[in-house]
């Protein structure tokens, strides 16, 4: 019980308060403490945790392949790709082969996923902008004004359009965003304090 519950809460309390105090101390000793706890410990723990991560990755996909689950072919591709990148990196010491894999395979795949976002935005916008009620109609009208105003057409149709867009973005839109952000800030601080004080323990499995 002590090892599983009390000790983690004690560690969270001590480190949490130390980090809180550290923020207000500009002395090099304080910076050093931050460097050790946040940078070095974090990197060390992170590196070791990847062992567990890849154990999980391989066991998950190997099991899918063994059981011939739906789409197991993708698991084979995932395992082969992970091994290819790892072997490519270690064997060539991140040389040309690894760079080629990264530049001509990995980066374009990432870019492809990101570029898909444009189509998803279009389909989501189409659904969101249907004028079902007063609020949705207001959203539709505002969105259409902002979209037209952001392109040269808006300025062409009416000189005052860019100023109107600027006002929508910096006054009503910004006011709503700041309202949410103030709530987020207070909520984040409250959550951090609850964790430091040991009031919130759900994240370690306890209540």
């Amino acid at each position: 019980m002590f090892i599983r519950r009390t000790l983690p809460i004690l560690i969270a309390f001590c480190i949490g308060f130390a980090m809180l105090i550290q923020y207000f101390i500009p002395h090099p000793y304080s910076e050093r403490f931050y460097d050790i706890v946040v940078q070095q410990w974090f990197i060390t723990i992170y590196a070791f945790m990847f062992i567990f991560a890849y154990r999980s990755f391989f066991s998950h996909h190997i099991r899918k392949v063994k059981r011939r689950k739906t789409g197991y072919i993708f698991s084979i591709i995932a395992i082969a790709s992970a091994l290819l990148m790892a072997v490519g990196g270690f064997a060539t010491r991140r040389g040309d082969f690894f760079d080629s894999l990264y530049n001509y395979l990995y980066a374009p795949l990432q870019a492809t996923m990101f570029s898909l976002l444009a189509f998803f935005i279009a389909s989501a916008a189409f659904r969101a902008f249907r004028a079902r009620n007063v609020q949705a109609t207001l959203l539709l009208v505002t969105a259409v004004i902002v979209m037209i105003g952001r392109v040269p057409l808006g300025d062409y149709l009416w000189r005052g359009m860019p100023d109107l867009i600027e006002w929508i973005m910096t006054v009503p839109s910004m006011a709503a965003m700041r309202g949410i952000r103030i709530g987020v800030g207070l909520g984040a601080v409250a959550t951090a304090m609850k964790i430091i004080l040991g009031v919130e323990r759900t994240y370690m499995g306890g209540t």
Binding site: F24, I45, F114, G187, L197, G205, G206
Partner: protein, 366 residues
Amino acid sequence: MIASTIDSLSLKPPTNLIAFDTPDDRGVSITLKWEIPQDISKIQGYQIFREAEDESLHLAGYAPVNKTEYIDQIDVRNNVPYQYRIRSTSPERLVSLFSEPSQKVYAYPQWFRKDLINVVVITLIYLALLIYFVQAARTGKEIFLRRIPGLDALDEAVGRATEMGKPILYVPGIWPMSEVSTIASMNILKPVAKKVAQYDSKLIVPNRYPIVMNVAQQCVKEGFTEAGKPDKYNEDDVFFLSPNQFAFAAGVNGIMERERPATNLFFGAFFAESLLLAETGNAIGAIQIAGTDRVPQLPFFVAACDYCIMGEELYAASAYLSGDPRLISSIKAQDWGKMGLLISLLLGSVLSIFGITFIISWFTVR
């Protein structure tokens, strides 16, 4: 030669040069202030010279003509006496005479940032409020908590998945465990896992970070144990997918397409992948509940999900789901904090109209 000397003499150096240790810093920095000459028409800028016992007078920095302050941070050592001089320069590279030397000054590190005293005071007040309400909860006083439809719908969503014999997908965001929103997500995961176990359904939790994966495994395991079904917990359902943002998004989308979950839950920090995930979920007809504190992603979730938990509601979710009076009471402290900020905001705005700005400056953080 004579002309350039006369021109040079017509350039006046800055006056009243003062040097002092830069306040509220880690040392190795000295701040200089001066008054600019009356006639600056021929001046382009100021050359700042420094000397110490083991350093001869040398150029240490340059400031443009309208500046009256310079912070010297180049090779400054702590506890070494420095003296500064300053002179004006013209576009023709003429220079004035040196100003009077500054007094000797030492750089040294500070143990407290006095400029953050307002943050300390507000943090302490907030901490006191939090402790007060948590203690007050022990008296058993009932605290009103408004309904959060997204969280109320969790039962329905999990129940639907059970009826359809399909799994529930839970995505805990794409940021590491050090992020408060990820911790909030883990706080929600456990009650969700408990519900899933009670309904005898399957929970899939793909992860982007190994530490998050370990915490998620623990939370799900505890949830299943609390529901009295520890044997139903499968460690393989809470797994590591990919550390790359878009590979992770592609992987989660693949799971949605193959496994066809009846319910998708997105709680945590999301970025560009938010809509990729939510739209795919929408396309497969899953009930979707999303919660994030990332304001730019909220419109995407609102457009593509059935329920959206916005901003601070994400942090309140743990209290809401657990029903623990101590956690619920902490939300009361948040409300009081918001009320305090709202009053300060209104007062600050009204007073600033009349030129009284002490509230605004008190809330300013350098």
